[in-house]
């Protein structure tokens, strides 16, 4: 396949595919279903393929890819919100990745629904940190590199987003 020429040497697109599970995890954080997450991950790789010629630092390829995933996820949510579909579909189909019918724990599903709804209501800069942390399982340092912000900023945003999500869950459980 094509390989972009970079200052540090060519990067094979295949190498980016090694990160597919992590990308998929992040996409899960921005999606309401497995199908949507997989579709989003496909979009991420397509965008990466179309623009990886601009990648000039191969050692940062993973962060670059995760940044594409984050941006694509936020864009997708924004688009859906604009169309007025998000609330309706989230309420109807906000499933955990497994099908709800096979899940013996409806209470857990309700909690997960509450978590997802709370995540969805977070402002973008908090949502991206929360998703990268909780879904992508990135360290503070990795999140900071991906978003191009300070580690301290990551920690403060994560703390605030967790607090907001916790409040939402507690408010629902009361």
């Amino acid at each position: 396949m094509n390989e972009p020429s970079t200052a540090s040497g060519p990067i094979a697109f295949d190498r980016l595919l090694d990160q597919k599970e992590r990308v998929f995890r992040v996409c899960m954080g921005f999606s309401s279903s497995y199908e949507e997450a997989e579709d989003l991950a496909q979009d991420v790789y397509l965008k990466a393929y179309q623009s990886y010629g601009t990648l000039d630092r191969p050692e940062l390829a993973t962060y670059w890819l995760l940044r594409i995933a984050k941006n694509t996820g936020l864009d997708r949510q924004k688009m859906r919100r604009r169309r007025g579909e998000l609330l309706r579909s989230w309420a109807e189909t906000a499933l955990p990745a497994v099908t709800r019918g096979n899940d013996p724990a409806p209470e857990a599903n309700a909690k997960l629904d509450a978590v997802k709804a709370a995540i969805r209501r977070l402002p973008g800069r908090f949502r991206e940190v929360f998703v990268l942390r909780e879904y992508g399982r990135l360290s503070y340092e990795e999140i900071a590199r991906t978003l191009g912000i300070e580690t301290g900023t990551v920690m403060s945003r994560l703390a605030r987003s967790r607090k907001k999500v916790a409040e939402a869950i507690e408010g629902r459980s009361r």
Binding site: K20, F24, G29, Y45, V98, K111, L112, V115, S139
Partner: protein, 184 residues
């Protein structure tokens, strides 16, 4: 990869979200995500425009403008006829010919038996008319006789007044100057 989390909420999030993502990952791993990526990439590469102008022309506005320019260019090439070159000196001369008195002067000068025209009671006018005629007559004989005047009347031509002669001379000079200026 995760850092230690002191917050209680982390356990709640972690357990719920991990359960969700783990189940999804199991399904993800059993699928053919990578093959689909390559399929999409190949489709995108196949449908990518060859021409660098193609994305621009694909926009309706620019495509319409380009089509309009093309139609105009083709129409111009098909229906354009070269405009004949304008002879400026000739056109000025033609314009000046419309001035009053020129025709009479020309008729007189182009007559086969052209002679100086004079009024019986205007010796200056006679001389002036003789000068006019003499320019084209290559220094021919100056005749101011009464016989010429009679023959002029016989041909049905009215003798010119002094004012008319001056007018003709001034127009003639103007024409001459313009033509000299244009042709020089």
């Amino acid at each position: 990869m995760r850092d230690a989390e002191p917050e209680k909420t982390d356990e709640l999030f972690a357990s719920l979200i991990d359960a969700e993502t783990d189940a999804a990952l199991a399904r993800f791993r059993s699928g053919n995500f990578e093959a689909n990526v390559w399929k999409h990439v190949k489709d995108a590469a196949r449908s990518s425009p060859k021409s660098p102008f193609a994305p621009i022309l694909a926009r309706p506005v620019w495509g319409g403008i380009a089509a309009g320019i093309l139609v105009i260019a083709v129409g111009f090439a098909l229906f354009h006829r070269p405009v004949p070159r304008v002879d400026l000196a000739r056109s000025i001369e033609d314009g000046l010919r419309l001035a009053p008195g020129i025709e009479a002067l020309e008729a007189e000068l182009s007559a086969p038996d052209r002679k100086p025209v004079a009024e019986p009671d205007a010796p200056d006018a006679i001389r002036l008319a003789a000068v006019i005629a003499g320019n084209r007559d290559a220094g021919g004989a100056r005749s101011t006789g009464r016989g010429e005047e009679i023959s002029l009347k016989k041909r049905g031509l009215r003798p010119l007044s002094l004012e008319e002669i001056y007018k003709i001379v001034s127009i003639d000079k103007s024409i001459e100057r313009v033509l000299t200026f244009v042709t020089s």
